[in-house]
Amino acid sequence: MANQKKLGSQTIMFENPPVLTAWATIVGPKEGEGPWGSDFDWVMEDYEFGEESWEKAETKLLRETIKLAVSKKNYSPQDIELLVSGDLLNQITSSSFAARELQIPFLGMYGACSTMAESLLTAAMAIDGGYFERTVAAVSSHYYTAERQFRFPAEQGTQRSISSQWTVTGAGAVVLEKGIYGGPRLTCATIGKIIDMGQKDANNMGSAMAPAAADTIKTHLNDTDRSPDYYDLIVTGDLGKVGSALVKQLFIKNGVVPEPNYSDCGVLIFNDNQDTHAGGSGCGCCAAMLCGPLLKKMVQGKIARLLLVATGALMSPTTSFQGESIPGIAHAVALENL
């Protein structure tokens, strides 16, 4: 069957793969001090970003990142037909408040830290379905808005768990267009299932998400009949040091070993001496890495085929307090220089 749009059980194959024509990322000060500081478009000087609350700062962060991405192609926000965006806050307010000012038709997404891949594949489906020609996928996260929602007040003198991860302050936005332009293309995507292995520790989300990442990668490779070395890099979203060590064990168990082409954005984004414990997390983690160094390397030709597997831990403080385990999810998007 020619032009089969769905492969296997969970993978969608784009008939005319949408092109990533522009992208932008703005990150927080700590991320700017990390190993990729010069690859981001803009580094915030402080966490307030000129606003009076952290929530407002995150809204501005997302809004300005979208504007920056759009302006790189000399478009104005009105030229964008659809904005698909999400963040970590209750009722995804950063996204809807950013969309309020941008006045772009808006679909809100929540996939916790997997939202970047979820937004990308949704925005790409909207184009390949023939409904739109120009869409934007964007996400944001902010260390302090996430801390106060999921954990403790900022000035509280607590000791963070050794397996806990540091929520990345950062936003990423990608402009997707119908495939008549040059650039990296989103060729296929695998929509993940929720995998819950009974992990309950909200201070160790890497462990909760690793089985989902392993399952999505295995399913993606099965569905597309590809071997791991088809990709120059398979990168998970924010498993961190603990989660990525676990996922490597699960790869061996599943019989698919993408090493040495495997890495994790949560491990990459910070230096070891930045005291994040197990690495970075949050929607902004893989978004900043994608819209910063990774897409740059694709344009330079250093990476020709990239599989981004964004991972999310879909719990809330309420469910954690009620003793529920953490449902993990992972979505994969394949970006290729065709």
């Binding site: 900022a154 003198g157 992990q199």
Partner: protein, 153 residues
């Protein structure tokens, strides 16, 4: 059929949990204990110095104790406001949480955090969001101990 599938899932979850426990880094218990002992000890020593000072000024032991608590709480609140107490707490752990200064920190940190939601629904409603359990169970235990005293004396 269903029960055996459940059983299998349970075994799988247990296997994974074992793997997680093998993989995740061990907490640095000894280091944490030493830090907590040293910093907690220093805070208590500071309290003792202040107590001795007040007693030297002629206050009774009870009054001097109250005055010392006031000073310690003030200092903890000040350091929280200046953004220093969380840095201390990061290393000291229980050493800076257990003394009265830790209690002050929990309250002031919450007050600072929720000020943006206004004085009623922010500061007022959520100031005890962290310290609340200590109060509730502190009061509850006080009532129980009080009852025991009444019954047995």
């Amino acid at each position: 059929m269903n029960t055996s599938a459940d059983q299998l899932k349970k075994i799988e979850a247990q296997e994974y949990d074992d793997l997680v426990n093998q993989t995740k880094p061990k907490p640095t218990v000894l280091k944490n204990c030493i830090w907590a002992f040293v910093i907690g000890g220093l805070i208590c020593t500071l309290g003792q110095i202040i107590l001795n000072f007040f007693m030297g000024q002629g206050l009774s032991k009870l009054d001097a104790g109250s005055a010392t608590s006031v000073v310690m709480i003030f200092l903890a609140a000040l350091f929280t406001g200046l953004g220093w107490y969380d840095v201390l707490g990061k290393h000291a752990g229980a050493g800076s949480i257990v003394p009265i200064t830790g209690f002050a920190n929990a309250i002031v940190a919450s007050a600072m955090e929720y000020k943006r939601e206004g004085y009623i629904f922010g500061v007022g409603a959520r100031i005890f969001s962290v310290a609340g359990p200590t109060l509730v169970f502190g009061f509850a235990i006080a009532v129980v101990i009080g009852l025991i005293k009444v019954v047995f004396s």
